[in-house]
């Protein structure tokens, strides 16, 4: 790791996020709800690029994009055009993509801005609106298939493209950036990052002294760290062997988990950008931005601060809980049911998070509800089960979806709280261990042995506080009869 550090890594990202909460595509009235649908059933003459058809911009997409730009502290252009990016590819119905452009008299949707991760600012270069292409699939692999199957259901879905400056220094930072971005988009209620393919990104990586390498086709955030780690190791090895890293575009192969060199069909200078004549300019007056600003929902950073103040959480806990909207929502729902934020936060950050990490799933994929987690925590607080036991109960809950109370009852895990019963067990232990009793009377530390025996006999179900109380009382009574 230290060697990588010394090579000064710079990572920039180009993220494509679908505006999944729109009902329709960016330029036509086809439903955008394409996941799980039969191929080519959500298409119309417009998104199929049929002759004579024309695009008309989705009003809500524009509004969503304004919110995103505001949330990323980006400066929204007052007057903008759409541009055509011309290149041939079978997933593109018109063989050009309607996008935006920052040259040739064009301005992107918004410029500048930043996202804060762990106190560090990752700068945004630009934000723009564009349309998604369709989806290609093959019989077998791309190399072996003797034809390509195209599904245009996705063609025309509204995308927001976010390009960062190369401000990230580790793959982990890149992941944190993406998580934060996703959390922001989810708080804005414009995009659901849990949907497959809703957020994709390209990354560019350069090591000090080397040229910029672009890695394309990273289909999810989880893959980003993996792809970047591979690419950095690859480049580092080249540097160590005294080789020069040339500028190139590589492709992340998800199955083989390697990046492969990609010969581009068209280069940037071949795209022949020019203003889309079929769409008129967009003007966003300051007042409109102010209006939208007024109704902006709470964002992760604000929520984090509020968590610290309102629930008395540590900054670290608040940070982790607001990294995803689902996590933060789960937390707040739980707190609403049961006012012990500290304990809820501990369980979520501890046990629950490690389970999620281990399974590589997200909190909203669990059957576990806030109510169920709270019930478990209540059992601890009421002294019905021990904290240690609660951990195993939680594992059972996650596996079976059963309620905590039921698991405790089924497995007979309630703590032994009956004073008389505890007394009888204590008597038994004392009788069985006369020497230990003697030791304990004269040396308080030796009492631990007897406690251990008690726990062992009751399989840990005995309430330790109550048990030690009873034991201490009996020992002091016995002390009267025994002399050293």
């Amino acid at each position: 790791m230290s060697k990588i550090k010394s090579l000064e890594i710079k990572i920039g990202l180009e993220v494509h996020c679908q505006l999944t909460n729109l009902k329709t595509k960016l330029f036509c009235s086809c439903s955008s709800d394409y996941r799980g649908k039969e191929p080519n059933t959500l298409i119309c003459p417009i998104c199929m690029g049929m002759p004579g058809t024309l695009p008309v911009l989705n009003e809500k997409a524009l509004e969503d994009a304004i919110m995103v730009a505001l949330a990323l502290n980006s400066k929204i252009s007052e007057r903008m055009l759409f541009f055509r990016k011309n290149y041939f590819y079978p997933d593109m119905p018109k063989n050009f993509q309607i996008s935006q452009y920052d040259k040739a008299g064009g301005v992107p949707f918004a410029l500048g801005g930043y996202i804060q991760i762990n106190g560090k600012k990752v700068r945004i270069r630009r934000i723009q609106l564009e349309e998604d292409p369709g989806k290609l699939s093959y019989d077998g692999t791309i190399e072996s298939s003797n034809h390509t199957l195209v599904d245009y259901n996705r063609a025309g879905i509204a995308l927001i493209e976010i390009v960062t400056e190369p401000d990230m220094e580790t793959p982990k930072e890149a992941r944190l950036f993406l998580e934060k971005l996703r959390s922001i988009l989810e708080h804005l209620n414009v995009s659901d990052g849990s949907l497959e393919g809703s957020m994709r990104c390209d990354a560019n990586i350069s090591l000090k002294g080397g040229k910029r390498v672009e890695v394309k086709n990273i289909s999810s955030f989880k893959e980003v760290e993996r792809a970047l780690n591979f690419e950095i190791t690859r480049q580092k090895n080249l540097v160590l062997r005294g080789m020069v890293i040339g500028q190139e575009t590589r492709h992340w192969d998800e199955t083989r988990r390697i990046t492969v060199s990609l010969r581009m069909k068209e280069e940037e200078q071949d795209y022949r950008y020019f203003p889309e004549p079929d769409l008129v300019p967009i003007i966003i007056p300051r007042e409109r931005i102010k209006e939208i600003e007024q109704k902006m929902p709470e964002l992760p950073d604000e929520r984090r601060k509020r968590f610290i103040e309102q629930y008395n959480l540590s900054p670290q806990s608040a940070e982790i809980l607001t990294r995803s909207k689902a996590m933060a929502d789960f937390f707040e729902e739980s707190v609403k049911i049961y006012g012990n934020p500290k304990e809820i936060s501990n369980w979520m950050i501890g046990e629950l998070s490690s389970y999620l990490n281990e399974k590589s799933i997200e909190i909203d994929e669990l059957t576990l509800t806030s109510k169920q987690l709270v019930d478990l925590i209540k059992l601890i607080d009421e002294g019905v089960i021990s904290r240690k036991m609660a951990k195993s109960v939680l594992q059972d809950m996650l596996l079976t979806g059963k309620m905590a109370g039921d698991i405790v009852k089924e497995k007979g895990l309630e703590k032994i709280l009956d004073k008389e019963y505890i007394g009888s067990i204590v008597e038994k232990i004392l009788k069985e261990n006369p020497q230990a009793v003697k030791d304990a009377i004269f040396d308080k530390k030796a009492m631990n042995y007897l406690m251990g025996q008690l726990m062992k006999k009751t399989e840990g179900k005995i309430d330790p506080k109550m048990a030690s109380e009873v034991l201490r009382k009996r020992l002091s009574e016995l002390a009267k009869f025994i002399t050293p």
Partner: protein
Amino acid sequence: MSYCVELSAYEIIKKIKAQELKVVDYISYLFERIKRIEREIHAYITLTEDSALKKAQDIDKKIERGERTGRLCGVGIAIKDNICTKGIRTTCASRMLENFIPPYNATVVNLIEDEDGIIIGKTNMDEFAMGSSTEHSYFGPTHNPWDLERVPGGSSGGSAAAVISSMATLALGSDTGGSIRCPASFCSAVGLKPTYGLVSRFGLIAYANSLEQIGPITKDVRDCALLLSCIADHDPLDSTSVNKPKEDYTNYLVDDIKNIKLGIIKELFGEGTQDSVEKGVWDAIKKLEQLGADYQEISLKNLDYSLPSYYIIAMSEASSNLARYDGLRYGYRIPNKSYDWNAVYLKNRRFGFGFEVKRRIILGTFALSAGYYDEYYLKAQKIRTLIRRDFETAFKRFDVLIGPTMPVLPFRIGEKVNDPLEMYMCDIDGVPANLAGIPSISIPCSFSNGLPIGLQIMAPPFREDLLIRIGFSFQKNFPILKKLGGHE
């Protein structure tokens, strides 16, 4: 009654509404005539006799029952084959779309059908509207009804030839750089290119989006006003369609042009203008003067650059618009299965497009490519601003601006087709109106050696009323009595 096909739409509608003429009979006469003379003229790519007759019966029934009928009340309309018609093949005169049957109508087609207009066929044109002679058609050229050896003009040559030879009563064309007015002029028809944004482009197969409009090609100005009234409407499917109240242009059929100020554009009489054309147009100007209009010459300096600017913009946009024709989703696809996608695209487009289309795509691709964009596309768009400013200034002094529609008389088939640049030069008088987005009409003003000459009148944006008023006054007071012969 078979003579009725020679009447104007206005007269036919009058007869139909008075129940003197059955729509079915009139439509049958039209098709009889088509069968008799289409072989010589070749105005159509596709005819829709069955559906036209069926529609005619429906309208007759409506009339019998005394139900309300639309403004076009059974009139037979020819539609240029780059305007999409649901269920009727729309070829753009290209092999690429030879079998393309759109599952949707252009907005103008819906509007025409709403007014009980009857589509009788799809007319021949230059492939993808790229041409000025209708010779660049995959289906072969259209012949000028006035002289079968000559071109009818283009690219809407089929529409103009059909109307003038009475194989249709009304027609729609499209005008990107003169493509309505040029054939109107060459065929002695009235052709109007509306203000950019007045008529919906939805369903018009794009050649150069920022320049083109659909418009009427008719026998006279009265019909032109009627058809324009039917098709000029705001369309939410076209972002460049202007949202203004619908107008009835027949209200402007007024015989009064007293004190109207005409500006005669010097640049439109530049080198390459034939003497006969110049004379014909000046005679017409003098006639307008007789009707009380004042005229004065004016120079619009930047018009000298309009032709190259037009071609750069049109080709650039076309190169992108026509990229979609790859054979995957519709259109021509080579049968060979062994090629990879690039090879299939290369071959589909090689065999699917004609020479002129390929030339323009290649030049347009060049003009947009890195390093050339500023020099060509951007520069042309800047000159466009200068041209618009020239017009704005001129319209401060004049109500309308005038010049010839075409610098030349209809030329012989084959005369220019092998010299693209010479063919482009024919558009020199037509393109300024497209660059400026202003309305422009061509009105038949005289004949020279039996060949028609068109007078072009341009007005400020959305002042089609002026064009109709002047055109109507001219036609009312100076009717051209020359009749088309030789095809009976």
